[in-house]
């Protein structure tokens, strides 16, 4: 009979956290910036079809970094939860907070109970009539709400400090795009092309479904006056 060597719980958790962080740090970053009408997500993503940002429900969007197959599973589960809840009760009863809690619980139990934690970091955003709520969920299930702007992914820290320098609380959509683009570019020390950006967001002035995507040529047109 083989014997497992003793590993202290502290060491076990630390190893798992290191593992998850290493996976996430290999990936590219996503920046979320609040603007007057809602929230804009800008992701460095060379693929036009494998999304990092997507619609969950009328007022709720999701952004993720890390391992694609893992956050894609979480995204689908989130849509299922939201649609079933909205069907059983009412559409306005589906909230970003309850979804964020579900994600935090799922990531938390996977972190403590399974062999391998999720190598993902998530943002769940909900736009209300006069506010934007952004929940930031880490690989271990810890959750925080963010104000104004937030970056996740490989160069999150650098992008976050670039965002802090550029952000102001009265941006329009293109202004927010400019701020996020500049922060992602400088945070990584290179200039990002419109074709490598995935831009999507929540706009409270839209109809029932607040989620929108910006096409590459729209993004290029919005960035053009800002690039010297």
């Amino acid at each position: 009979m083989s014997m497992m060597p003793y590993v202290s719980p502290e060491q076990l958790m630390k190893d798992r956290a290191d593992y998850a962080r290493k996976g996430i740090s290999r990936g590219k970053s996503v920046a979320a910036v609040r603007y007057r009408e809602g929230l804009l997500f800008v992701a460095e993503n060379p693929s036009a079809t494998l999304h990092k940002v997507s619609e969950i429900y009328d007022r709720i969007a999701f952004a993720a970094v890390g391992k694609y197959n893992e956050f894609e599973l979480l995204r689908r589960q989130g849509i299922r939860l939201a649609d079933v809840t909205g069907y059983q009760y009412a559409r306005e009863d589906v909230t970003g907070r309850s979804l964020a809690n579900a994600y935090a619980t799922a990531l938390g139990s996977a972190f403590t109970e399974s062999q391998k934690p999720f190598e993902v970091e998530l943002l769940v955003a909900e736009v209300t009539d006069d506010d934007v709520e952004v929940y930031h969920i880490l690989y271990d299930g810890s959750i925080a709400d963010e104000e104004g702007y937030v970056a996740i992914g490989g160069s999150a820290e650098a992008v976050q400090s670039e965002l802090a320098e550029r952000y102001d609380d009265d941006l329009d959509r293109d202004g927010a795009l400019g701020v996020a683009h500049a922060a992602l570019s400088d945070g990584d020390g290179r200039s990002l092309e419109a074709a490598n950006l995935e831009v999507a967001g929540l706009d409270r002035t839209r109809g029932r479904r607040k989620f929108f995507r910006m096409a590459t040529d729209e993004v290029a047109a919005a960035l053009e006056p800002l690039t010297p």
């Binding site: 969950i56 589960q77 849509i79 649609d83 079933v84 059983q88 996977a110 062999q115 999720f118």
Partner: protein, 261 residues
């Protein structure tokens, strides 16, 4: 131990809302019963008419329970998604439920898969949902929808008709259903010509609803006292939109005037 087990990636119903609902909240679908059908409300005449570049969908507003008019402002035409609509006739409760689940189904698929279903795919999904209602239909709670939409891939408008057991039939020109459907169809047969403009198709649809209300006690005509008029929606390349109530009132007025003896 494995990571939180997700759904089977090769499950073909993975993007289906009704399958998700059955799996996660089966109690929401309970309510099948045996025995005599309790008193219930029926909805009546709905129709769809194609024209050059789009399709008009319209319905009267009356709901009846036996010989009682139970509702005068019922909605029987619903947007299914941005480019299609579903109109329902038959038992009101199950009909409206069908429209709601169908719309959720289309949105669910679009969000999960990242692209909308084809128009044909939407029509087939609705047929399956009508078929799933068969046990209820056998007891008298028949639901017969009508589906119309603009096919963005083919750049054409299409109408699909159904029967109570889930048969799906594509119609090129117009379709009707409900208790006044036969009278509406007669009216459309007489007035429909190929290459109608949108405005003409709207008038043809209002004529047909008038004819249905004229012959069928369960179909409501325009209610000038309460200001309740048929619900008229148009779907074209720009998507689904409902006509403003005042505009419908004007068109109804014009149609009625033209018919005055």
């Amino acid at each position: 131990m494995t990571q939180a087990a997700g759904p089977d990636p090769f499950d073909a119903t993975g993007a289906s809302f009704s399958a998700t609902l059955r799996a996660t909240a089966p109690e929401a679908l309970e309510g099948r019963f045996q025995g005599p059908v309790p008193d219930h409300v029926d909805g009546t005449t709905v129709l769809a008419v194609t024209y050059d570049g789009g399709v008009v969908m319209a319905g009267d507003r009356r709901a009846t329970a036996g010989n009682v008019i139970s509702k005068r402002d019922m909605r029987k035409v619903f947007p299914a998604d941005a480019w299609s609509a579903v109109a329902v006739s038959g038992a009101a409760g199950p009909s409206m439920e069908l429209a709601k689940v169908f719309a959720t189904e289309l949105e669910h698929y679009e969000k999960v898969e990242g692209s909308p279903l084809s128009l044909e795919g939407k029509a087939n999904k609705l047929a399956q949902m009508v078929r799933a209602n068969l046990p209820m239909a056998m007891q008298g709670l028949v639901v017969v929808p009508l589906f119309a939409g603009y096919d963005l891939r083919e750049h054409a408008s299409r109408i699909y008709e159904y029967d109570g057991v889930g048969g799906r039939y594509e119609e090129r020109r117009f379709a009707t259903t409900g208790s006044g459907g036969r009278d509406a169809r007669g009216s459309l047969k007489a007035r429909y010509v190929d290459g109608l403009e949108a405005d003409e198709a709207i008038d043809v649809a209002i004529h047909a609803l008038w004819d249905a209300a004229d012959e069928d006690a369960a179909t409501g005509g325009p209610d000038v006292v309460r200001g309740i008029f048929p619900l008229v929606a148009v779907i074209d390349r720009d998507g689904y939109r409902e006509l403003d109530g005042e505009l419908v009132a004007d068109r109804v007025d014009a149609v009625v005037s033209s018919r005055r003896l």
